[in-house]
């Protein structure tokens, strides 16, 4: 397998973009990545498009052709593939693109991800998202996504004495990081009290424990490592790509408070990259709910099981802490356009490793990790990036 590098990144504003269509979002992200890499359209060998549910959000399927077309690549018949793994669709699109370059089959490949969520009402959006769980044995029984993560949170609190305040600290940290990210949906600070006094969605989770509904798209350009410097002075190398599955239903997991898919993907990724969790300088993890960030930092191996809440409270995951997590603001405050998230994580880590993250820059960051989760943990994708 060949080494693969990211030579260009692009990302739209993440927010409610009423005036921008799905195809326009993708083209905007793709074009800025292409400009960043300085590649010509004709040199792009393939596109991989991460998207969860355009069929239900905008009643559009066949995104592969649509995006190739509006990116101006249908005229030269560039192959294009849509990739779906619920909220991990973006991460999976990146992985497919990495494998295509690593195998030697393609050279320059674009991996994009995007979701246009605000063309439907909030109730419909919630229902579309619940399709990431088992419709026949969770959804129909009355489960919602906040409900599933709330059941994880309740058991984590029961077993490990994690507190609502510690969960709230995840939101407070990520909102603070987002104040330094011009792309973020919420660029304002919040307090623990704000979180705890926001309406309860699914006990013990409050409204401000949940990520929002967002429009947005992101893209990265990949090239073989040996020619990456032809395009950029600051290539970021993909040292590991790993993927793992677990049961689609939360109730069938070996342990309700562990995402075994994350554990397995992390183990494979660290082995492939030849590094340990202690060597990671920054991480973008899948905080669709505050409890999900606690699970992530434990299951990846940054902290022992049960200690994620305390670590967050002690500031170990803040910028300047032991392992800065979600410098972009995460899904929580940067926003969560489902299919875009996995790619946006790679954009953020790339900018950090290049030293281009502005006010939220983590000094001297050399190795970064992204963790993207589908559903309540049925799929996990982990990438390790190094400058």
């Amino acid at each position: 397998m060949r080494e693969v590098a990211i030579i260009g990144v692009g990302c739209t504003r993440f927010t409610e973009l009423w005036e921008t269509s799905f195809r326009d979002l993708f083209v905007e992200a793709g074009l800025s990545a292409i400009e960043d890499a300085g590649v010509e359209g004709e040199t792009i060998d393939a596109l991989y498009i991460g998207n969860m549910s355009a069929g239900r959000f905008i009643e559009q399927e066949h995104l592969a052709s649509l995006i190739a077309d509006y990116a101006g690549l249908a005229s030269i018949n560039t192959p294009s593939t849509r990739v779906e793994a619920a909220c991990a669709s973006g991460g999976l699109a990146l992985r497919q693109a990495v494998l295509a370059v690593a195998s030697g089959h393609h050279n320059i490949v674009i991996a994009g991800g995007g979701e246009k969520m605000t063309d439907v009402g909030t109730g419909d959006a919630t229902d579309v998202l619940s399709a990431a769980a088992d419709r026949e044995w969770e959804g129909i029984m009355g489960a919602t996504f906040p409900g599933l993560y709330a059941m994880i949170a309740r058991l984590h609190m029961h077993r490990y004495h994690t507190t609502s305040e510690q969960l709230a600290q995840v939101a407070v940290k990520n909102h603070y990081n987002a104040t330094m990210n011009p792309r973020a949906q919420y660029q304002r600070e919040i307090t623990v009290e704000n979180v705890l006094t926001s309406p309860i969605v699914a006990d013990p989770l409050h409204l401000l424990d949940c990520s929002p509904i967002t429009d947005g798209a992101a893209a990265v350009i990949l090239a073989p490592g040996e020619i990456a410097r032809k395009y950029t002075d600051t290539p970021v190398y993909i040292k590991a790509t790993a993927q793992a599955s677990s049961t689609i239903s939360l109730h069938d997991r070996r342990d309700i408070t562990t995402l075994d898919a994350t554990v397995a993907a992390a183990r494979r990724a660290f082995e492939m990259a030849g590094v340990t969790p202690d060597e990671i300088d920054i991480a973008e993890v899948h905080d669709c709910f505050t409890i999900a960030e606690i699970l992530a930092i434990e299951d990846i191996g940054f902290f022992k099981k049960g200690e994620g809440g305390r670590a967050t409270e002690e500031g170990l995951t803040a910028i300047g802490g032991k392992i800065p997590v979600n410098t972009s603001g995460g899904l929580k405050a940067c926003g969560h356009p489902v299919g875009a998230t996995g790619i946006k994580q790679a954009v953020e880590v790339t900018e950090q490793l290049r030293g281009e993250a502005g006010k939220r820059q983590v000094d001297g960051a050399e190795i970064g990790l992204t963790q993207n989760v589908g559903g309540s943990g049925g799929t996990a994708i982990i990438h390790i990036l190094q400058r």
């Binding site: 109730g123 419909d124 919630t126 229902d127 619940s130 419709r135 026949e136 044995w137 969770e138 959804g139 129909i140 029984m141 009355g142 489960a143 919602t144 906040p146 409900g147 709330a150 059941m151 994880i152 309740r154 058991l155 029961h158 309406p199 309860i200 969605v201 699914a202 006990d203 013990p204 989770l205 239903s249 939360l250 109730h251 069938d252 309700i256």
Partner: protein, 129 residues
């Protein structure tokens, strides 16, 4: 969910009918055609569960899914049946009564209804023992 899709597993929903792998002595609900532990070596037979178990974790749903017009708030939990398998189900009790580890028993109840099509879903819920 469409009517045929719900009907297909009706007897399993109404009677807590799942499967049992006689090779590894593991019980499954909902039914599975392949035992995840034994895969091709598994011998699968139908099994009707007694319907008693304990509450592993729970939440209180304030905003029910639009298609299920259950009376919110309601308690949603993961129940571990005494035979081993777990399922997600509504628990008929007040939010204050719910407790991790509490013994529960299955009952046949209306789960919800789709306002648009007027379809009513029946199936298993749990009550405190």
């Amino acid at each position: 969910m469409t009517v045929p899709r719900f009907w297909r597993k009706l007897k399993h929903r109404y009677n807590l009918l799942g499967t049992h792998c006689t090779t590894c002595e593991t019980y499954y609900y909902p039914p599975r055609k392949i035992c995840p532990k034994c895969r091709r070596r598994g011998e699968i037979e139908p099994h009707r569960f007694k319907g008693e178990g304990k509450l592993l974790t729970y939440t209180i749903i304030q905003n029910p899914p639009e298609k299920i017009t259950a009376h919110a708030p309601y308690v949603l939990g993961i129940v571990e049946l005494d035979e081993g398998p777990r399922l997600t189900s509504q628990i008929i009790c007040s939010p204050e009564e719910a407790e991790i580890g509490m013994r529960v028993r299955s009952v046949f109840r209306k789960i919800g209804e789709e306002s648009a099509e007027g379809m009513i879903y029946y199936g298993t819920k749990f009550v405190k023992l």
